[in-house]
């Protein structure tokens, strides 16, 4: 007791020391375990690999990056992943906005709680279970095909699946199916920050806008959207980066084309080309950095 009292007396008034004492453990964790391992990974990408023995040679070279940007197959993987991430992010934003807006502005306390639980509930289920469930849902004999058949809309589904590149023999083995699963998986990560941002917009601002003569569409463009931008930016960083790095969904659902995450997994695992895997994992980091810089330039964080 007296020792505790002595300690608290000692800490009282020594604010800087007290704060650093509190921050030391998390900073150590972040510094060594997180940033340290990230640095080790990145440094691997500059190492050479012995073609013959497949052993990593600690010898600085840019050959891996040259291989990444010059080999068409590798460029294809990057482009494919980025396109998927962009479309998934846009779709999540478009779907999440009305939901988040309803949750933040119109739902009563009970309904709001229901919506929050509803949005988060899927996250309580194992990720793998959900992905495999979706494979069944989207399979040729799955419930979606059955639904289309019951509604007599099978020709429509066939037409959609006949679309070049994104189509395929069934939803479960096409990019459309993969897109649906991605959107499903990451939607909560878009809805929650967006709802939080919209919740912080006072209702009086919307009334003021209408009062000054703005029609609902103008109020949305001039007031709601700019003030929700930080939430939209945060949500899109989630959906964008999660899609860029995922390797399970593309290997379970969808067309056989490779994605960045699968490439990293394969190169560091079966292929044993650690430098190339590291180089591939640098790509999302650079893309996210670019994306954040762009969002900042567009003023996404001005309203923070």
């Amino acid at each position: 007791m007296t020792a505790l009292r002595a300690a608290s007396t000692f800490l009282h008034g020594r604010n800087a020391f007290y704060v650093s004492l509190l921050l030391l453990p998390p900073l150590l964790w972040l510094g060594t375990v997180y940033l340290g391992s990230l640095f080790v990974l990145l440094s691997q990408s500059f190492y050479a690999i012995d073609e013959f023995t497949a052993r990593v040679v600690p010898e600085l070279t840019l050959a891996t990056y040259r291989q990444l940007v010059t080999q068409p197959a590798n460029v294809d993987i990057v482009v494919r992943t980025v396109l998927m991430a962009v479309t998934v992010t846009i779709a999540c934003g478009v779907i999440a906005f009305p939901v988040a807006n309803y949750m933040a502005r119109y739902a009563g306390p009970k309904l709001k709680a229901f919506f929050y639980v509803g949005v988060m509930l899927p996250m309580w289920t194992s990720y793998l279970v959900k992905v495999y469930a979706w494979r069944l849902i989207l399979a040729k004999q799955g419930i979606v095909s059955w639904g289309f058949a019951t509604a007599g809309a099978t020709p429509f589904l066939d037409k959609v699946l006949a679309t070049p590149v994104v189509g395929g023999p069934s939803l479960a083995s096409s990019y459309i199916g993969m897109f649906i699963v991605f959107v499903y998986m990451w939607l909560p990560f878009m809805i929650l920050p967006l709802a939080a941002a919209l919740e912080r917009v006072p209702g009086s601002l919307l009334q003021a806008s209408a009062d000054l003569g703005a029609r609902p569409g103008q109020t949305f463009r001039n007031v709601v959207l700019p003030l929700a931008l930080p939430g939209l930016a945060a949500g899109s960083v989630f959906t964008f980066s999660l899609t860029l790095g995922d390797y399970i969904i593309p290997s379970v659902v969808g067309a056989p084309g490779y994605f960045i995450g699968m490439m990293v997994y394969q190169q560091q695992g079966t292929a044993g080309n650690l430098p190339l895997a590291a180089a591939f994992s640098v790509v999302p980091i650079i893309l996210i950095a670019l994306y954040l810089a762009l969002a900042r330039r567009l003023g996404a964080f001005d309203a923070l």
């Binding site: 006072p202 009062d211 000054l212 001005d302």
Partner: protein, 340 residues
């Protein structure tokens, strides 16, 4: 002449709370009109109906003779200064003020020019490119005012416009608002729970209580001729005398009100002159306020009356606590009230 604003038996309920109960009001063009009442009395609901943020369950709202009951706010020639100012945080001061022009598709150069003119009007010329969060409360208030006035509305609504300001600033803004209204000649309707504010600024005041207009009168009329005990004690302070004491003094059972400053304090043996009413009691406490003193006197039948007396250098001090005194006032100063 058609009224600038007219409410016809407007009723609005929330659940089973009747916020506004068949209120009819007529506000003339160019009038400075106050909606006064305690919180929950329906005054803000009334303002929201006029602005168009809310719609009456029954009854109608007319602006300049046109029925706007179901017209959305953006199609009404009415602008509002919000209690929390509701300035757009992501826009500069000039952009905030020009917003009404922007949504009407006025060109950028013209918008800027007129926004700067409005800023001059509210004496904030050098703040055009600041953000709202860099302004003080009084400055935000003036920006909100300029933003609401740029559309040249026929009616300006103000929701507790001075509520968030400190006392000194509030007094300054009262004079400024009054001057602005006289220069612009447009109708101002403002909501307040502060009776002093209503009395000093408004041409006419509607006193709200429990969703109804209790009395509608000029400030002087409200203060000198309150109709009910609610108005008498909400507008200024008043002694409302009821029951046996009222009957003993006036010969009628009806309650009456007498303002503390109209009661004189005399020695217990002083004779009452003709036309005076009076009662004896014991001084309970004396509070000295500088320009005036207030005291409470418990009359022999238990009623406590408040008395206020102007202090001047030559004034005799009030007798000490516990002293016996005789209170007296002109019978004509006592205002008969409607029985509740």
């Amino acid at each position: 002449m058609t009224a600038a604003i007219e409410l016809r038996a407007a009723t609005r309920s929330f659940g089973n709370v009747v916020a506004l109960d068949r209120v009819s009001l007529s506000i003339a063009a160019g009038e400075f009109f106050a909606l006064l009442g305690p919180s929950g009395s329906g005054k803000t609901t009334c303002l929201r109906l006029v602005a168009g943020f809310d719609h009456p369950d029954q009854g109608s709202i007319l602006l300049d003779g046109r029925d706007v009951t179901d017209v959305p706010p953006y199609d009404r020639n009415v602008n509002t200064v919000f209690q929390d100012y509701a300035l757009f945080p992501h826009m500069s001061v000039a952009e905030n003020i020009a917003y009404g022009l922007r949504v009407r598709r006025v060109g950028a150069a013209e918008r800027r020019k007129r926004a700067l003119q409005m800023l001059e009007l509210v004496r904030l010329g050098e703040f055009a490119d600041r953000r709202p969060n860099q302004l003080s409360g009084g400055q935000k208030q003036r920006v909100a005012l300029a933003r609401a006035l740029i559309n040249q509305p026929r009616v300006l609504l103000l929701d507790e416009p001075l509520g968030a300001l400190d006392l000194k600033l509030r007094e300054e803004m009262q004079a400024e608002l009054k001057g602005l209204q006289q220069r612009l000649g447009i109708t101002f309707v403002f909501v307040t729970h502060d009776q002093g504010e209503a009395l000093s600024m408004a041409d006419r005041v509607a006193v709200f209580s429990r969703g109804r207009v209790e009395q509608l009168d000029t400030p002087r009329g409200l203060y000198t001729r309150p109709r009910t005990s609610f108005v008498a004690s909400f507008v200024g302070s008043a002694n409302v005398v009821t029951g046996a004491l009222a009957e003993r003094l006036t010969g009628r059972r009806a309650p009456f009100a007498i303002r503390p400053e109209l009661i004189e304090v005399h020695a217990p043996d002083a004779a009452l002159t003709a036309g005076m009413l009076g009662t004896d009691g014991t001084l309970e406490d004396v509070l000295y306020h500088g320009s005036s003193s207030r005291c409470h006197v418990r009359t022999d039948d238990g009623t406590v009356l408040a008395v206020a007396r102007a202090e001047s250098a030559g004034a005799e001090p009030l007798p000490p606590r516990g002293a016996r005194v005789r209170l007296a006032w002109l019978a004509s100063d006592a205002v008969a009230l409607e029985a509740e």
